[in-house]
């Protein structure tokens, strides 16, 4: 039996398992959400790069809307000016940080005090602690934004979970697609669905009942206009949530662009090196009459 027959056997086994899979999928529908639509992201794929204008808009949405409830404790103001991010200028970041009051201390008199923020400070949370955040939000603290884009995903199922890892057809933006989908998933509950007080119906949220009320509406955030006074992108929920999701992707992975750029060089180098090594190896083995090729040469030999 060769590799092909192994694959056939595995596929057969998996297709036998498919009825189990489909029954479980419907069970998941009962307590889960729908599959979020897959969006195009500028930073997806090997050559992906963040769109700086989009990250800046996304930050604006975070600042004006989300940050009322959601902290972003692991991100420093200075990160906003670092390479591979929203690329604000140092002075913009300095001015931005100064608009926040940061708790510091104790001072020489042993007292805590408030002072204007500096670029090296982390984003101050909207609530003094998780308990206060939970108390103000119906018993559960709104999740921190710092790594939320990596902390959310959805099941892709067979065979997609395999192809998701591959070059070109790969998919690693489930987190932002899910976030975008949930933010656009508020709708009237289907007939017969009870929605208790304090929760809201959402098409994409697992279980469909989400504590967060619909947080954003069309026209709520005013984006900067271009020189002609025209809006650059539409001021719609769809656009806001794409922008803020992209910003969250950056906040969760601030070195993503450096990672992808280095990866390309490393992989090209390794391919080149392995090519050279292959020929060195061939040359070395020529001394003893060449190497045996094929994984199981004796299987193909007569006698």
């Amino acid at each position: 039996m060769k590799l092909s027959s192994l694959l056939a056997a595995s596929l057969l086994a998996l297709s036998l398992g498919a009825p189990l899979g489909s029954s479980a999928a419907s069970a998941e529908d009962a307590h889960g959400g729908n599959q979020p639509p897959r969006l195009k992201w500028s930073y997806a794929g090997v050559f992906g790069r963040f769109d700086q204008a989009q990250l800046q808009r996304g930050f604006q949405v975070y600042k004006e809307v989300c940050s009322a409830c959601h902290s972003m404790k692991l991100v420093d103001f200075r990160n906003l000016a670092e390479e591979g991010g929203p690329d604000f200028s140092e002075s913009q970041v300095k001015a931005l940080a100064a608009t926040y009051q940061v708790k510091d201390g104790p001072n020489d008199a042993g007292e805590m005090f408030e002072r204007p923020g500096r670029p090296a400070d982390k984003f101050p949370p909207p609530f003094p602690n998780d308990q206060a955040a939970a108390a103000a939000n119906g018993g559960k603290a709104p999740p921190d934004f710092s790594v939320l884009a990596k902390a959310r995903t959805f099941e892709r199922g067979f065979p997609w979970f395999i192809t998701d890892a591959l070059p070109f057809v790969g998919y690693s933006e489930q987190g932002v697609d899910y976030i975008h989908a949930v933010l656009n998933g508020y709708e009237e509950p289907p007939k017969g669905t009870e929605v208790p007080d304090g929760v809201h119906y959402n098409k994409y949220y697992p279980g469909h009942l989400i504590a967060m009320p619909n947080p954003i509406s069309d026209g709520q955030v005013t984006y900067a206009k271009n020189e002609a006074g025209q809006p650059v992108v539409p001021e719609t929920v769809d656009q806001y949530t794409r922008d803020v999701a992209a910003f969250m992707a950056w906040a969760a992975e601030p070195h993503m662009m450096a990672r992808k750029a280095l990866g390309l060089r490393v992989i090209l180098f390794l391919i080149l090196l392995s090519g050279l090594l292959y020929y060195v190896k061939k040359r070395v083995w020529a001394d003893v009459g060449g190497e045996v090729h094929g994984l199981q040469p004796e299987l193909h030999k007569a006698g």
Binding site: M1, S5, L6, A9, S10, A13, L14, G17, P19, L20, S23, A24, A27, V46, L74, P143, S146, V147, K150, A151, R152, A165, G170, S172, Q174, G175, E253, P254, H255, A258, R259, K260, L262, G263, L264, V266, I267, L270, I271, L273, S274, V280, K281, K282, R283, W285, A286, D287, V288, G289, G290, E291, V292, G294, L295, Q296, P297, E298, A302, G303
Partner: protein, 428 residues
């Protein structure tokens, strides 16, 4: 075996002085230079070198990560994020370490299944093989401990599930659990202990790897025919032939590794582990890392907790009995037409168990897990002994050389030891 055919002769005065006092250069020479390698090894035999490379990568990246990591229930998650954000190339170190663990297991599974296919566990390599099973066990413990250290939801709940499993062991279970916890639940003392053990176990792996290589160099390598080296023409010296092939294979494997580090760094992990550990909130599905999934499926296949624990550990330990369960006199599956089919079936069952381990333990999944678990053990306890007795193996080749060239043909050049000194020839 002629491991000392090319005895090491120190050339420089310093080397002579040193060799007379500690013959370690001679040891390296006999193990990695003059060591006779069967000339028909295929690429499945390069995974030992790949595993060595990953052991080194894990230790180096791990030592560096430990310089920035804080093993405490309140700081662990943030210190990992500090590594990701503020440490120079910290993201590279962490992603290399996390994906390195997965690649380590990819390589070890190829290595194990290679040993099973070609009968590398059979006499005289039983001790070599059992040392390998011990390394595998140590790897599993190390990987589990390491996965708890970021202190995300999956870390915390994985640690909780596994330590609860250990409590099912009769008599000593509770004591083991309290010792690991350092208290009455998974908490700050646990992460301190796990960090310490996660740093300790790799050095035990290094120790057993030394024994593994030592045992290998006593018995020599198996090969795709399963027949031993009979003459110097069957073998080539380790350096340069195996060295260059191993280096090539390691570099090719590094391409796969780099792909995951740079483009799919979180594919093999769980999104839930980016949620900080919260003892008050249980994740919807607690799932271990992919390399534990077959054993997780076996654990959950049995309704009894203790029964599941026994089966799960047996599933690993039964590997160590393979040398005595397999009754065939022929090593390589290439000459075992019936057992070869069962080998592939066993591999497929293991893969399916892995898939089932990722599914919720309900309905058809549990039944499928039970069937596959039964087959997993039946492979060792029924198929291995019975097929070995009833099967008629194909005719073995007269020698390794004959399997390479076909009967009666000659190859240019020769094997050990003249081959090492042969002049390079140009391919024409």
């Amino acid at each position: 075996m002629s491991a000392h055919a090319n005895a090491y002769v120190p050339k420089s005065r310093v080397a002579k002085w040193f060799e007379a006092r500690l013959p370690i250069l001679g040891l390296v020479h006999s193990s990695f230079v003059a060591f006779p390698v069967p000339r028909n090894l295929n690429y499945f035999w390069t995974f030992g070198a790949i595993l060595m490379a990953f052991l080194g990568i894990q230790i180096v990246t791990g030592v560096w990560l430990a310089m920035h990591y804080e093993p405490s229930a309140t700081q662990a998650f943030n210190s990992v994020e500090h590594i990701m954000r503020d440490v120079n190339y910290g993201w590279l170190l962490r992603y290399a370490h996390a994906n390195g663990a997965s690649m380590f297991f990819v390589a070890v599974y190829v290595h194990i299944f290679r040993a099973l296919y070609y009968g590398s566990y059979k006499a005289p390599r039983e001790v070599l093989y059992i040392l390998g099973v011990i390394i595998y066990l140590l790897m599993m413990a190390t990987a589990f401990l390491g996965y708890t250290l970021p202190w995300g939801q999956m870390s915390f709940w994985g640690a909780t599930v596994i330590t609860n499993i250990l409590a099912a062991i009769p008599v000593v279970g509770d004591t083991i659990q309290s010792l690991l916890w350092g208290g009455y639940s998974v908490g700050n003392p646990t992460i301190n202990r796990f960090f310490s053990l996660h740093y300790l176990l790799p050095w035990m792996i290094v120790g057993v790897v030394v024994l593994h290589v030592w045992a290998l160099h006593v018995t020599g390598q198996n090969n795709p025919t399963g027949i031993p080296i009979k003459s110097s023409k069957d073998a080539v010296p380790f350096t340069p032939y195996a060295t260059i092939k191993d280096v090539f294979a390691v570099v090719v494997f590094m391409i796969l590794f780099a792909w995951f580090i740079f483009y799919q760094p979180n594919y093999l992990g769980h999104a839930d582990n980016y949620v900080p550990a919260n003892p008050a909130v249980t994740p919807a599905h607690i799932v271990p890392e992919w390399y534990f999934l077959p054993f997780y499926a076996i654990l959950r296949a049995v309704p009894s907790k203790l029964g599941g624990v026994i089966l799960m550990f047996s599933a690993v330990l039964i590997l160590a009995l393979a040398p005595w369960l397999d009754t065939s006199r022929v090593r390589s599956c290439n000459y075992r037409p019936i057992y070869r089919q069962f080998f592939w079936l066993f591999l497929a069952v293991t893969v399916i168990l892995g898939w089932l381990g990722a599914k919720p333990p309900e309905g058809g999944y549990v039944i499928a897990s039970q069937i596959c678990t039964f087959y997993y053990f039946a492979h060792f306890l029924l198929v291995m002994p019975i097929v070995g007795l009833i099967e008629t193996p194909k005719a073995l080749p007269g020698s390794i050389l004959e399997s390479v060239t076909g009967p009666g043909k000659q190859v240019s050049g020769s094997g050990m030891p003249a081959g090492a000194a042969a002049a390079p020839t140009t391919k024409g």
